[in-house]
Amino acid sequence: MSISLNITAWFQHIRLSEDNNETLMLKYAKTQNSALLARLYDNCAHDLLTFLSTLSDQDLAEEIAQRTWLKVIDKAHLYGQQGQFKSWLFTLGRRTLIDEYRKQNRFVELDEQEIVPQAAIASEQISTEATVSNAELNSDFLDAYDRALSKLSFVQKEAFCLQQEGFSLAEIASITNMEQESIKSRLRYAKQSLRTALHDLHPVVDSTNDKVNERVGEER
């Protein structure tokens, strides 16, 4: 009886460890088993695509996402055990996107000069007629949010989206190859812009907006 319980626990342990992205990737790098890649894809593809679509348009995001996954296949042997798989995936995706922008001669501002609060620009784009309650985030509000997000600078968008994906400051700094202090600053300005843009639409955002505005004012 105890043996069967132990075996069951062992299989559960195996299954749990297989669910981990890092374990899956290490196994994939070793075996090239496409079933493992499929599981990784299921776990991370949508997050990557959303991130890339925020930094570009949908068509380009799809293409870049696909290229990124092809790089995962080709560079699987380069994946190190240290670090999270998703962090590595997003680093590949971001670099691929920036390379594509450079090929197309599209200018991507990656230095600090671009970090300017753009609340004024964003707020102009948002319809003030749309209002929502605390409990409800309707389609108009989501549209307004997407528009406000799209109006942020490239570096602010990427820092903000990466944080929303759950990456730590250190991980964001690693993915973007920047100092953590710069990331902090980008995040602060990004959120300030979003708050301003969504001021009239979301009371929850509105309530915290004043506190942050005060803090930003003090810092200046």
Binding site: A45, L49, E62, W69, I73, Q84, S168
Partner: protein, 221 residues
């Protein structure tokens, strides 16, 4: 989906946009669903192609190694069996003596001596041979009274290569024409010997044949 634990939060209000961001993401997910599935299919096709390629090189190699391991193991076991079997038939036991005796009975001649003029192949040049023949003749003549070291009996046989003397010790002594003529010169051989007759062979101390004469007794082995 997200399996990260966020640390080093910069603001207290990180979750301020969490809800709206997640809802926006979920909405995009439903929009992108079909494209994502198509892209996945395409990607997996490429991955399988790569998997097949890697199979050709790595899997085939590892399979070959496993096969060769099996082959080596089989060969090693086979070799071991052969060694043990071979060792067993050569380990003497009391019962083997009879078999051994039968074995030797079946073999007619186990030793072939060629009594020629002392390893002719090693003698280079006709002069040397002439000198050697003369020396041997002198040697035999000097033994005016035969001082044979030992003697044996043999049956006279004829083969393609000439005269042969077969002893009961399974020895076959080939006698060259040169030696016959030499012995004949010094009258140390009966001239009217016939095939099947028994002869007595006298040897010097160093093993050289000094005389071949007809025996009065019939050799019975």
């Amino acid at each position: 989906m997200t399996d990260h634990k966020t640390t080093n939060k910069t603001d207290d209000d990180v979750d301020e946009f969490k809800e709206v961001h997640n809802k926006s993401k979920a909405r995009k997910k439903s929009q992108y669903q079909s494209q994502v599935l198509l892209a996945k299919r395409e990607l997996l096709l490429q991955a399988k192609t790569k998997q097949r390629q890697s199979y050709h090189w790595s899997e085939a190699l590892s399979r070959w190694f496993s096969y060769s391991k099996g082959l080596s193991a089989t060969a090693a076991v086979g070799l071991l069996v052969i060694v043990v079997w071979y060792g067993q038939i050569h380990v003497f036991s009391p019962n083997d003596h009879n078999n051994l005796a039968n074995h030797y009975t079946n073999v007619e001649f186990t030793r072939v001596d060629s009594h020629e003029l002392q390893s002719e192949s090693q003698l280079v040049g006709a002069n040397f041979r002439i000198k050697y023949d003369k020396a041997y003749k002198d040697y035999l003549r000097s033994k005016g009274v035969i001082a044979a070291h030992h003697q044996s009996s043999a049956k006279l046989r004829m083969s393609k290569s000439g005269w042969e003397l077969a002893t009961c010790d399974n020895e076959l002594i080939k006698v060259s024409d040169e030696l016959l003529s030499l012995l004949d010169d010094i009258e140390r051989i009966d001239s009217d010997l016939k095939v099947g007759e028994t002869v007595d062979i006298m040897y010097a101390m160093d093993g050289r044949i000094m005389q071949i004469l007809r025996s009065n007794e019939v050799l019975r082995c």
